[in-house]
Amino acid sequence: MRSFVLIAIPYAWLLALFLVPFAIVLKISLSDYAISIPPYVPQFDPETGIGALIDALDFENFIWLTEDDLYWKAYLSSLKIAVISTFFTLLAGYPIAYAMARAPAEWRPTLMMLVILPFWTSFLIRVYAWMGILSNEGFLNQFLLWTGLISEPLTILNTNTAVYIGIVYTYLPFMILPVYSALERLDGSLIEAAEDLGCSRLSAFWLVTIPLSKTGIIAGSFLVFIPVLGEFVIPSLLGGSDTLMIGKVLWEEFFSNRDWPVASAVAVVLLLLLVIPIVLFQRNQQKQQEAEQ
């Protein structure tokens, strides 16, 4: 009985905050667009019942997604941006996590604090700050002009480069923390043993450190990849008109076009796309737990 209650709480949470909203979105995605408030015709009417619902059921909004190439281009472009920025986040985050794990034990809490410090200010303000840094008259260009490295200001803001910078900056802590926790548990004598058995520093890193931090790398990559795929704020503030991301398309469909049914269909497909990496992530976590037992 007690275990039932314990399990029931998270399930009730999931039901109320995930499944019910999802059902509502799914319902809207199956309905028709209308100029009214709210801007769609409900598909399910209690008076006509389930029968009428099934009679009138169509997937026109989903079919529309395949007919206009904007949508699948946006999905693909999001996927590409998510993959590339996850890679760069790993490239930037791994050395930081490694240095933190190698730092003297009394320094580690401070370093950890510095990594999570940005969360103390609003995410929006931090993205706006990047606009100030990256714009044509921004700090970066002023600095580069001052050093004489460039004679013309670089156009970074409102390009994909700015989007990558913003994403790597924002999601870096999500990469650092799991990698750090994997590296911190690494027994230093394993590296010494590898060297003792004939490894150079570099090959010991490659053959021992990397494989043993694999779970952290995978966890961090998913923690970055999944939210970046649906990211909306960074591309709309830092990206240009050619930056195509599904989060931005969804937002425009919903608020500019006020086409709730199509926006809902976009959201449903996005969710289905996200389910795959989430399931993979869960399996990784499970495998890690089994290995530790």
Binding site: S189, L190, E192, A193, A194, E195, D196, L197, G198, K214
Partner: protein, 375 residues
């Protein structure tokens, strides 16, 4: 076994495999190794014994290449090894934590060092199989380290460090994580493997029983210095200092002043009003020098009547009896307040023991039973 003949340290012609020459290691203000000179011979099983913090692990890590001496030179087969990094040394180490790679199987762990040498594949297979046979791990080759027991892990670590056929194998507290019974079995296994492979072993331990069991020579260390290097029996029977006598096994120490009395024989006056003790001791002492008689509890006999013809006999009262099953240790207080421990084998059942608490007994020992150590 030809242990009685294997004594290269007594052969002036023999060249040590490892030679520490005036080696000092400092960490800031702290001196871990203090001007140390020793030689370790080929095929020796050399034990570094001492309390924690005595520098024995530092000494071993210098051999492995993880530390470099602040002063002095370490030679391996005549070559100064200071500039050689750990991965280029013909020295392998078995770590205290075993340091097995958790992501690799037993087989891959053992093959790890061989693959780094770019050994041909079938040679690796042969060598790993040989090591698995030597350590009786054939059945566990495919398992991961977390799927085998502590004793098996210890053997994997040993197999892995032996696989490259090093000139020198370093063992850092190799049996520390095993329980007592397994530890004793494994000690004999280690000796067996050392003999079969003919590798020079240097073992670091704080367990004096372990050092005495496995080693051909034991080096007792304290505060970064070697106090005595000798065979286990000499360390036990002829310690060169009170520190060594006290560190190895149990010992009674009786303080007094020595008076030469014939060749190698001294009369030790230890308490006013008591007859001086007769001691035959190899360590030379001057007339009237303050010294301590060190005598092992098992060399002190206990009896109810004063024994005839004993070189030394004192009377006392039993204060405590430690019953160990096979042995009993009697703590006897002399009228002078000195406490002497006497150990006897329990050849009869405990109910038939001749003495008990508060009994007055005689303690006796021969002139050669103990040694005199200068203060």
């Amino acid at each position: 076994m030809t242990a009685s003949e294997f004594e290269p340290w007594n052969d002036p012609e023999a060249k040590p495999l490892i030679h520490f020459q005036n080696v000092t290691k400092r960490y800031g203000e702290f001196t871990a190794i203090d001007d140390l000179t020793i030689g370790i011979y080929e095929k020796e099983f050399y034990a570094l014994l001492g309390p924690s913090g005595c520098g024995k692990t530092t000494l071993m890590r210098m051999l492995a290449g993880f530390e470099t001496p602040s002063e002095g030179t370490i030679r391996l087969a005549g070559q100064d090894i200071a500039p050689v990094p750990p991965n280029k040394r013909a020295v392998n180490m078995m770590f205290q934590s075993y340091a097995l790679f958790p992501h690799l199987s037993v087989w891959e762990n053992i093959a790890f060092g061989l693959k780094r040498e770019k050994m041909p594949k079938h040679d690796i297979n042969d060598r790993v199989d040989e090591m698995l046979r030597l350590t009786r791990l054939e059945k566990f080759a495919r398992r991961k380290p977390h799927q085998i027991s502590g004793g098996q892990r210890q053997r994997v670590a040993l197999a892995r460090s032996l696989a490259k056929h090093p000139k020198l194998l370093l063992l850092d507290e190799p049996l520390g994580a095993l329980d007592k019974k397994l530890r004793q079995e494994t000690q004999f296994e280690l000796m067996d493997i050392q003999e079969k492979t003919g590798t020079t072993f240097v073992i670091v331990t704080h367990d004096q029983e372990e050092a005495m069991t496995v080693a051909s020579r034991v080096a007792v260390m304290d505060h970064g210095k070697i106090i005595q290097v000798a065979t286990p029996d000499r360390i036990y029977e002829n310690p060169n200092s009170v520190y060594v006598a006290d560190f190895i096994g149990d010992v009674n120490l009786i303080a007094g002043t020595a008076k030469p009395n014939g060749s190698d024989t001294y009369a030790l006056s230890w308490h006013e009003g008591h007859a001086p003790l007769t001691v035959q001791s190899p360590n030379p002492l001057s007339d009237g020098q303050n010294c301590q008689l060190a005598i092992r509890p098992e060399k002190v006999s206990i009896s109810t009547e004063k024994p005839e013809q004993a070189d030394n006999a004192v009377q006392g009262r039993i204060l405590d009896i430690a019953y160990l099953g096979n042995l009993s240790t009697y703590h006897v207080e002399l009228p002078t307040g000195t406490m002497i421990k006497a150990q006897t084998a329990n050849t009869r059942r405990i109910a038939r023991r001749a003495y008990t608490w508060e009994d007055t007994v005689w303690l006796s020992w021969t002139a050669t039973a103990g040694v005199l150590l200068a203060n």
